[in-house]
Symmetry: C2
DNA sequence: GCAAAAGTGTTAGTGATACACCCATGA
DNA sequence: TCATGGGTGTATCACTAACACTTTTGC
């Protein structure tokens, strides 16, 4: 921007788009929301919701708009992920895409929810984007309270542990998990219990449902 | 990109640029390389090197090009930082800027090297970009071997500790620092010593001068 | 009564912190 | 000889990891 040295090349043809990676947990596995590409060489393949950024809207606003366009009324935690701009990533035209991560407590209708398997086939470079999103989510789960975004307002410790286990891809010791998570002082017990198929479980909620970094003095 | 739902607005006028934040240590303080804005409303103010992305180059290539244009021949670690796209960030036109962080072992001629003080006045939203760069650097120093990018090939443990102390903004216990950093097994002693004004110090180098994440199983 | 998830404590080991003195050199 | 940075070890504390049994409920 505002070149200190004026550019001498044609550079007005690089477009800007956002792509949103909506993730949620479903049946014990991470699922992503995708839509079918309607036009162009990649027509018919699966891709994340997204498209051009308008001249008068911020990137965050564009991400929210495209997310809501696909999953109307969605309430999600949305954060910028990474920007992908290889010249060949969209065969049709030169488009730089600012990818966003969106975390939902549950799947909503409006898109296809597909499990995040490594073999998942997606249009463009969206497999790379998905990989980046999963890495980010895994990393942030370790040093933030981000799990709130994948859970309802109230939840049991078992459900919270399940979020961690599913995202991290391995099991955790229940006693140690409880000790650690409770020591972080992020949760408030509700005093009520959830009755399921078995012994009722204490319900908790996050003290703050917004990003908090923990353990980094 | 590749809209699943076609956009119905004029959106071809959002431009793409890169801005590079070159950082190095000088006289015990972090310094950033800036240039004077030559044109437009912000003319005369200080800003980071950067400008438009060409149609046929990647974002990384654009960042390298603008960095080299300002600091010719520079060898630096360059990584994408964040993308800034508020509509009003450049008064002249709508430009989305992909910011890059560049870490240098020493300042090079070609730019003004200014200390990274909170009061530093910069054009556009570059103060925000600088703040983001510093946060990123601080965070990554804690869980990567990124310090190599701010040091010459060989260095003493005192110099390495100085990098950490300067970036983190507080002092560290020398004995604990050495124990911890040597336990990470990132360094190789050269067997030679550096003779300065005082007792010679053992020289080390990083086993790998590329990004390594440590301590995250 | 049985299957299934909830709930709970102790121990051992590892890593972090705090802390003080001597060493080698150049000036 | 003195100023300056280099180099070293120990004791304590906090956190992590490993580990098994009892409880409560629905069916």
């Amino acid at each position: 921007m505002a070149p200190a040295h004026p550019s001498t090349h044609n550079d007005a043809t690089v477009g800007v788009a956002v792509d949103v990676v909506p993730l949620t947990l479903q049946e014990g596995a991470l699922h992503a929301a995708v839509v079918r590409v309607e036009r162009g060489d990649e027509r018919g393949r699966l891709a994340f919701p997204g498209g051009r950024v308008r001249e008068n809207e911020s990137l965050d606003d564009a991400a929210a708009r495209w997310l809501d366009g696909t999953l109307p009324g969605v309430r999600a935690h949305v954060e910028q992920l990474y920007t992908f701009g290889e010249p060949g990533r969209d065969p049709a035209s030169r488009v730089v895409s600012v990818a966003y991560l969106a975390l939902l407590a549950r799947p909503l209708p409006g898109a296809l929810w597909v499990p995040c398997e490594p073999a998942l086939r997606l249009a463009y470079d969206h497999r790379t984007i998905l990989r980046t999103a999963l890495e980010r989510l895994r990393a942030k789960l370790a040093y933030t309270n981000l799990a709130w975004a994948l859970l309802d307002e109230s939840f049991t410790l078992g459900e919270l542990q399940h979020v961690y286990e599913t995202v991290l891809g391995h099991t955790l010791d229940r006693r140690n998990f409880r000790k650690r998570i409770l020591a972080l002082d992020l949760l408030t017990p509700l005093g009520t219990t959830r009755h399921g198929a078995h012994r009722p479980a204490q319900l908790y909620r996050f003290r703050t449902r917004r990003p908090i970094t923990v353990g980094v003095p």
